[in-house]
Amino acid sequence: MKAVLGLALGVLTAIGGFVDIGDLVTSSVVGSRFGLTLVWVIVVGVVGICLFAQMSGRVAAVSGRATFEIIRERLGARVGFANLAASFLINLMTLTAEVGGIALSLQLASGLQPVLWIPVAAIAVWLVIWRVKFSVLENVTGLLGLALVVFAVAVFLLHPDWAALGSQLALRPPPQSSESAVTYWYFAIALFGSAMTPYEVFFFSSGAIEEHWTPKDLGQSRVNVLVGFPLGGLLSISIAVTAAVVLLPQMIAVTSLSQVLLPVAQAGGTIAVIIALLGFVAATFGAALETTLSSGYSLAQYFGWSWGKFRRPAQAARFHLTMIIGLLIGLGVLLTGADPVQITEYSVVFSAIALPLTYLPILIVANDHEYMGDRVNGRLTNLLGLVFLVIILIASIAAIPLMILSAAGS
C-alpha cells in the first residue's frame, strides 16, 4: 500500500511539475496563432525529454554521480566548460523568466503591479531552497501544479468543434491563421525548446543524488517519467487547445499571461480562474526552484565543490552562494522592467539552440561501461537517442536563421 502511494505521489508530482512558464506561454501562443497544427511538436518534445530524463536518472542511480560531474571527467574540461557556459546562461535566463512568471501570476490574482511581487517572489524562492527539505519542495509544488488540469477540463466545457480541431491536428491550417511557413517552423523550434528544457535533466539527475537513489529506485523513476511526463505534456496540449478554441477565432494572438487565462474564464467562470491561478503560481514557483537549484548544481558539479540540499548550507557554501547570486541577477533584470513573457519567448528558443550541447554528453555517459557497469543503454534507447540527436541538431542550427527571418515570430 505504501509502495502504491509512493508511486502515485511520484507520478502526480511529475505531471504537476512538468509545466513551467515556457510551456504556459508558448503553448498558448501557438494555439492562438496556429491552432493545433503544432501539437505534434509537443508530442515529439515529450518523447525526447522522457528519453533523456530516463537516461540521466539511470546514470545517477547506478553510478551515484550526477550528470554534470561525469561530463567534465568523461569529455574533458573544454567540452565540459562549453556545456557549462551554455547551460548556466540559459538556466539564468529561464530562472529570470520563471520568477517573472510568479510575479505575473500573483498580479493576476491580486491586481497589484508585478514590480511589487518580483522581490517577494525572489525572496520566497530563496527561502524555500534555504530551509525546505528537497522532497517536500518537490512534492508540494508538483501536487499543487496539478491544478492546471483545469485547462483540460476547460477544453470539454467549451464544447469545441471536434471535427475542426481534428483537421488542425492533421496539419490543415485553420482559416483564421495567416502565418508564414518561416514563422511556423520558428514556433515549432520554440515549442520544442519549451518541452525539452535542458535544466530538467540536470535537475532530475541531481535530484536522484539528493534523494539517495539506488538501482532499486529505477523502477519508480521509470514510471514517474513514462507516465508522468506524457500526462504533463497533455496539460501543455490542453493549454494550446483552449487558446485555439477561444482566442484563435477572435484573432487574439497571445502576448501576455493574462490572455492565457481568458479561455478558462469563458469555460468555467471565476472558480476555474482561481484554480488556474493556483496552477500558474505552483508551476512557476516549482520551476523557479528547479532552475535555481540547477544553476547551483551545474556550477558546483563542474568545479568539484560540495553541493546538495542534503548538506548543511555552511558545508556547501559555494553552492548556496551561486544560487543567491543567480537569484539576485534575475531579480535585477526583472526590476529593470523587462517583460517576463518576452524573456520566456527568448529563453525557450535559446534552450533549443543549446540542446545539442546539453544532451549529447548524457547520451555518451549513459553508454559508458566505467560508470554504468552493465546497465548501459540498450539498442532501442541508443537508436532513439541518435534520432533525437539529429532532430536536436537540426532545431539548434535552424533556430537563429529562423529567428532573424521571422523577426522572432512577430
Binding site: R65, E69, F81, K133, F310, R312, P313, A317
Partner: protein, 131 residues
C-alpha cells in the same frame, strides 16, 4: 603481413593514463566529501612550467585552481594562486580520487571554508542540520 606488436613488460602496480584517469577527476576526502576537481598535476624534479627532459617524471601533487582559463585559452598561471594536494595523501584511485585526510585543512579548501564561516554560516539557518 605485418609483425604483431610487442607486448608491454608486466610491471607491479597499476598503469594509469594521467589524462584519462587523473585529470578532471573529482577528489573526495576521507569522509566522502567533495574537495575539488583535479585541474593539473605537479611532476617531481621538474619546476612548474618546464617541459620534461628524459627519464619519466613522478607525480608529486595534484593541482587545483584557476588553471582552467589557461587550459582553455593558453598561457601560464602564476604558481602562487594554485592549490596543491600532495600526492602522499591520495588514498584511492577509482572513478573518483579519494584522499586519506579530511578536506578541511587543505590549501584548496580555504575559500569554501572561509565562505562557510563568514558568509553562509552567518545567514540564519546556515549551520542547521538539513532535516
Amino acid at each position: 603481413m605485418t609483425a604483431p606488436l610487442p607486448r608491454p613488460p608486466r610491471v607491479p602496480g597499476r598503469i594509469l593514463d594521467a589524462r584519462l584517469h587523473l585529470l578532471d577527476r573529482q577528489v573526495l576526502d576521507v569522509d566522502g566529501e567533495p574537495v575539488t576537481t583535479v585541474d593539473d598535476l605537479e611532476l617531481g624534479d621538474l619546476q612548474f612550467g618546464e617541459r620534461p627532459r628524459s627519464a619519466a617524471p613522478t607525480i608529486t601533487a595534484l593541482i587545483s585552481g584557476p588553471i582552467l582559463t589557461t587550459r582553455l585559452f593558453g598561457g601560464r598561471a602564476p604558481r602562487g594562486r594554485l592549490g596543491r594536494i600532495g600526492w602522499e595523501v591520495v588514498a584511492g584511485i577509482d572513478i573518483v580520487l579519494t584522499l586519506g585526510i579530511p578536506g578541511g585543512g587543505l590549501e584548496v579548501s580555504w575559500f569554501e571554508g572561509w565562505l562557510g564561516e563568514h558568509v553562509i554560516g552567518r545567514i540564519p539557518g546556515g549551520r542547521h542540520d538539513p532535516d
